[in-house]
Amino acid sequence: MESSNTEYLRGTLKTIVLGLLAEKERMYGYEITQAVKERTSGEIVLTFGSLYPLLYKLEQEGLVQNESEEVEGRLRKYYALTLIGRQTARQKLLDFTHFTQLMNRLMQLPLNLSTPPTPDSPAL
């Protein structure tokens, strides 16, 4: 299951981060990973190796801007959506919702897959 999650996440990580940033005024790196972890009950865990390249990329694309602030003696970088970033986030979330609806319609679980196979069941 883990490998499937990773596979699906590849295409949706940008939407996830944009969606989270759209909900709050600004967030820092660890806060984003924690939000993802909490909302998925620990099933999706982002590492700094996957998060920071995306944040830097969003920044390069002008969707996100950062501001540094000293917190508890450390320099913390907060990320916030720009105006274009907010519009992109909205569009991405709408596209994604539409896509999941399509997938739900497309991927109806067939009856022969809804129950696990038993030893008596005929082999295909």
Partner: protein, 178 residues
Amino acid sequence: MTPLTPQQTYCLRQHLRQVGTQELLIDELVDYLACQVEDSMRKGLSFEKALALIRMEATSLSVRHLQQTLVRQGALPQTGFWRHPARCTKRKKVAFGLIQPVHHALLIGAFLSVLLTGWLLASRGLAIPVGLVASLLCPLLILLSFQAFAVAISERICSAIRPFGPILLVDPPAEKEY
């Protein structure tokens, strides 16, 4: 949540430096890992255990992969190949006088070989010609050794002002987004 002490934060910073993190990235990663440590400590772990977990996650491999990705994106500057630690170790050791350069070692080896050969031949009754050769060669070798010693000293002085900048990674592997 109890914030980390400056000493504990310093430990994290040192760990990141040890695994070759670029200075441009270090503040952000220190904050990220410090938050992670604070979270682990809030759940009851000691700082040492939390740090051990961090060491397992923030390995030189994972940091290198992150930096390579950021360099490819253009978010981090690319530094020269010659600054790679694996490439420079011997150069640094020579510069700091921890090991001898090869030509110094060869000179010392040649000097000792002549002495040993002279001693062996002298023990077989060939003392006069060997003494003659040794008396001609030894001052020359001693002079060369002194010269090599002077070069080593000057290299050591130069090394004090030689920049050894941040560590670098070239030759990135295939991109992996997640």
